[in-house]
């Protein structure tokens, strides 16, 4: 989670709206890491959506004739676990869940963070002071640990608690970035010009402020998705997230780690997919940031 702050600080420092959409698209397309990241992400999304349909096994279907068979041995393409469940199918279901949680939690943190940061930035004065104090306070706490403790207390395996807890982690940096942008936008001459020209407050927000906020918000949101997926897997690894018979990548890694001496593929296969997924998302996010940052 530490990385989020540094990334956020950089994303917030750039005022990228200067790059027009088509130039941005061109830069993204030209970036090799963006291509690689997008290819990885698309491949995983397609596999997660279509893969389970094309298999004859369900994610919770036991196969007593093939208990803990290694990959590439016939019946189960990527092997099976100690209950004979198909690892490939479980893993793709897990990837679905991880992707869903990653994007939903990011959406939650974007909504909270943008609202919080925009209100603080535009209201200014005492409101701003109080709101940012709260953010600073939360940031100086072992906030993640509190979320873990509360998740444990209020609902192990309850997906709604999980969504809320994961979303609640991401919004703090987002709020800081948006507030910084809002403050710097207020002083820009084109805002002054719009005010002088008699534009109404909602019009200024809609026409000038939101488009200028969009760049850093999109960049930080893109970099938040892997953070959220990581956090979900982290909770599931500790046994606090997704519960049996459902699987997430984190819970599969937890099971695999427990049997790594006798059935190493149960660890290696889901761990590789998680690493690949995080790598793809990070590459895409970094490329997006570089494309939006005119100084890069």
């Amino acid at each position: 989670m530490v990385e989020a702050d540094a990334v956020g600080a950089r994303a917030g420092a750039a005022v990228p709206a200067a790059a027009s959409d088509s130039r941005l698209w061109g830069r993204l397309r030209g970036s090799r890491s963006a291509q690689l990241g997008a290819a990885i992400l698309v491949a995983i999304v397609v596999a997660a959506l279509l893969g389970p349909l094309s298999s004859r096994y369900g994610y919770d279907q036991l196969d007593w004739h093939h208990i803990a068979v290694p990959p590439f041995t016939g019946a189960h393409w990527l092997g099976s676990d100690r209950l004979g469940r198909d690892l490939a199918v479980r893993m793709l279901y897990g990837a679905r869940l991880s992707l869903a949680i990653g994007f939903t939690a990011t959406a939650v943190s974007v909504v909270i963070g943008v609202a919080w940061g925009a209100v603080a930035g535009f209201a200014g004065g005492r409101t701003d002071g109080v709101m940012m104090r709260i953010v600073d306070g939360l940031n100086s706490l072992p906030y993640l640990l509190l979320v873990i403790a509360l998740t444990t207390l209020f609902g192990r395996g309850n997906p709604y608690v999980l969504f809320a807890a994961i979303g609640a982690v991401g919004w703090i940096t987002m709020a800081r970035i948006v507030r910084g942008q809002a403050l710097s936008l207020e002083r820009r001459s084109f805002i002054e010009a719009a005010v002088a020209g008699g534009a109404s407050a909602p019009r200024i927000v809609a026409r000038h402020i939101i488009p200028n906020l969009a760049g850093p918000v999109v960049v930080y949101a893109a970099l938040t998705v892997p953070q959220m997926i990581l956090f979900e897997s982290f909770l599931s690894f500790l046994g606090l997230g997704i519960q049996e018979p459902l699987a997430s990548l984190g819970s599969l890694i937890r099971d695999g780690a427990a049997q790594m001496g006798s059935a190493p593929w149960l660890l290696a296969v889901p761990a590789s997919l998680l690493a690949l997924l995080l790598l793809g998302l990070n590459l895409l996010g970094d490329a997006l940031r570089d494309a939006l940052d005119p100084r890069g």
């Binding site: 100086s140 706490l141 897997s233 690894f237 780690a257 990070n282």
Partner: protein
Amino acid sequence: MFAYALRRVAAILPILFLIVTASFFAIRLAPGGPFEAPQALPPAVRANMEAAYGLDRPLAAQYAHYLEGLVHGRLGPSLSVRDVEVSELIAQGLPVSAIVGLASLAVSLLAGIALGIGAALKRGRALDHIATAAAVLALALPGFVVGPALALAFGVHLHWFAAGGWQLDARHLVLPVITLALPTIAYVARLTRGSLLEVLRADYIRTARAKGLRERQVIVRHALRPALLPIVSFLGPVVAAVLTGSLVVESVFGLPGTGRYLVEGAIDRDYPLVMGMVILYGALTLGANLAADLLHGWLDPRVRHG
């Protein structure tokens, strides 16, 4: 400077008080209790147990009692481990966690700064690309993937190091410390590279070069100190990351540290144990942030005199 430091230390106390109060009541809001299922007790026994630990009294009275204990340095008895004080549990686990945590903090700072400087000085060349790619990879790989993988490769198969368990020797320390340090190494290296590159563009670096200093002197004397300032201010988040990471690493390698108390205590509804952990980790995080700020002020005259 001294008065400033004293003021900052004093400012921590009300924050800790807020954390204690908020978590005390939040924990009690959760459903369930320490003497409910799975070990369902006969109602009379359960009532006796709850009375013995004061859990039958009004919440406000329990809170006052807990605060009174805290003022006298008592964290209360553990509810899940019978006849043991929370402070004893922490005293057992803390040395292990502290050794692993401090070792990986030291490793991440040394290796991260060295790699970052190397990458910045060789910008655009092979070393830079390799270091950057390695950093992306290290940040993408979570500890619960790296840890089991290392244990499998170097513990189970190669027998170079222990795959788990705890003894105070290199055999048992290397893998947990590397697992815990890897993401922070990458993070510190990125930060160092970026900030050194920025400093090297500054006017006074050009001046230093123009007056004929050797490159080595330019880097060591003029560039490094301002370049390392951002690392100091991120010491707080780095310590927080190490604390969080220790939950995973201690579980992966079966280390008898304090990390497991947080989750296990919360599962068992061991209220005093969870509170003790929240206070311990809260104080450590706040202390690290404070140390970072003070160090920053000491190193950067603009903060000190500003």
